[in-house]
Symmetry: C2
Subunit: 340 residues, 2 copies
């Protein structure tokens, strides 16, 4: 055990605007033996998610910034290879927040840090996507904020992403008409043909609020009743221009402003004239809903009713580049790094 080497990626500097690979550094350290109550996990997959961009900066946000010269935060799935905790045994498949590294020693006495998962009907990697944090994020924003009714129109931006794709399918299962917004014809085709959306608007083909608003109007002939926001900026303005009375907007992300660009909302008076509700949320603050959400998501994946795509980078060294690609929308579906 003591001969194992752990490759880790540290955050070594904070981005000024757009992040770059030199904000990160790959290091090798020996894998420590687990102490009493601890579990040694070998990571199979590392999750890459947009929220990590926020953690790289020092600015005021909902979470503490990622410390410098420490292993980057991140969700992980893997296999227990040594355990000094009675509830975990070698061979157990587990999900946790192991960070950007090949191995992690986890204090299993702390509730919630490590969770055993069943891979009989659900692939291990899905616990980082549709049956994990992104899935619950989609579920919370849709079910608890948008609360779609059958026959309503729900729009989601970044529709081909891990969260957006799930939002659409959950809304569809509730009888809503579901319209995606994504970048490029390939993503839009996948959103409609693979994920079953009713329509998808390519924001890159409709530059500016007026053009995008017209394209959304064509895709949403009955207006927009609910919107799941991952992007912000011009896309939010175009959606608001098509909002129906009592439209609900769940704000999950505003990736268009993550590098500090100004992203003003053009017409907040629409909140009043349309009696809209706009609500931001962080899924980690709503742990009470996770069991219900994971139950629905897990059942749908196990029964093949919830489709998802993965973009998989190979090896820990590829993580920074894959993360930068995610921020630029180069991934299809869930962005993973495969380690084993």
């Amino acid at each position: 055990m003591s001969t194992l080497v752990n490759q880790q990626i540290l955050l070594v500097s904070r981005p000024d605007g757009e992040p770059a690979t030199d904000n990160f550094k790959l290091v090798s350290t020996p894998v420590p033996e687990p102490a009493e109550g601890q579990v040694l996990v070998r990571h199979h997959y590392l999750s890459l998610d947009p929220y990590m961009r926020g953690r790289m900066s020092e600015g005021k946000s909902y979470a503490q910034p990622q410390p410098l010269d420490a292993v980057m935060i991140g969700g992980t799935v893997g296999e227990v290879i040594a355990s000094k905790h009675p509830q975990f045994a070698p061979g157990d498949k587990v999900v946790g927040m192991g960070g950007w590294q090949e191995y992690a020693v986890v204090d299993a006495t702390q509730r919630g840090l490590l969770r055993k998962v069943d891979t009989t009907h659900i692939p291990l990697a899905a616990y980082l996507g549709a049956v994990g944090m992104p899935g619950v994020t989609a579920w919370y924003g849709l079910v608890k904020i948008i609360e779609p009714k059958a026959g309503e129109t729900v729009v989601v931006s970044a529709a081909s992403g891990a969260v957006g794709g799930t939002v659409g399918q959950l809304a569809k299962a509730r009888g809503a008409r579901i319209v995606g917004i994504a970048g490029g014809p390939d993503k839009c085709r996948q959103v409609v043909e693979e994920l079953g959306f009713d329509a998808c608007v390519d924001y890159k083909a409709h530059a500016g609020v007026a053009a995008l608003s017209a394209a959304l109007k064509a895709a949403c002939p009955n207006g927009i009743d609910g919107y799941f926001e991952n992007v912000g900026g011009v896309i939010l303005d175009a959606v608001m221009a098509n909002a129906n009375a009592f439209c609900r907007i769940a704000v999950c992300g505003m990736i268009s402003g993550y590098n500090g660009e100004p992203i003003p909302m053009a017409a907040p008076q629409l909140i009043l004239t349309n009696r809209m509700k706009i609500e931001g949320f962080i899924v980690g603050e709503h742990m009470a809903v996770w069991p219900q959400a994971l139950g629905e998501l897990g059942a749908m994946v196990a029964q093949g009713q919830l489709k998802y795509r993965e973009t998989v980078a190979q090896g820990i060294a590829a993580a920074p580049q894959a993360f930068l690609g995610l921020l630029k929308g180069r991934n299809f579906g869930k962005q993973l790094v495969k380690l084993v």
Copy 2:
């Protein structure tokens, strides 16, 4: 009866930008006899409210525009002088939507058009203010959207207005620290000394978002947990810059944009980072809460626990000028037109 003359004010043109007195016209018409089921009301007071500005325009809003060459819409209180409906008798004091005119013939068979009120402990005019639509507006936004907890800080713009003053006192009664925003030292003094606010920020003394934000920070050392929005624009930006996590914003009005000025929201990403909820509402769509709200407001006024001020114009001919003054913030408290 047939010799009575009714002076009425019609909307005869729509404003292009700022409204002017020539958008209105005073006419005299004979007062008709009430038919079966109808009631003839002599108006004592006419209510002037910011929402009327929206009705003057043709643009998409939550309500149908006011038709041209028709009597301007508006709340009224008065006395029944003739009745052909069994539930109303001459001498009854009533509140209704009689419009900008001295008399109205009301179809009392239509539920909700006319309501008898008790003036034993509550002055008749208060049914157009603290114990009327503005009071219920304050109550709904505060109680149903902001939901203040004791010890929280609630901010309200247009704090010296009929709605704003009531918001503050209702929040104070619930144990919140209450901070107003108003224009000019006189209004700010009145808000604190007469209405009992903990502090009031003079937005005219702090031009620009940065200065206003700093003034709000000084007045709200623990940040802002709830905000009742009547104005929008720079004031909203300055409030959002001081918002705490889980801040709730009830959007009742955005008077700074009523003449078509752009009023972008500078930093909507704060909705996410602070997990804010922003919700627009129209009090007329929530009739179910009116009895509860009017019950609380009426009891507070009758017991002298809810203070309010009135600015009273004299005579129907003064209504247009008084309305334009209201839009410019020249009134203190509720703007009325006294007809009798």
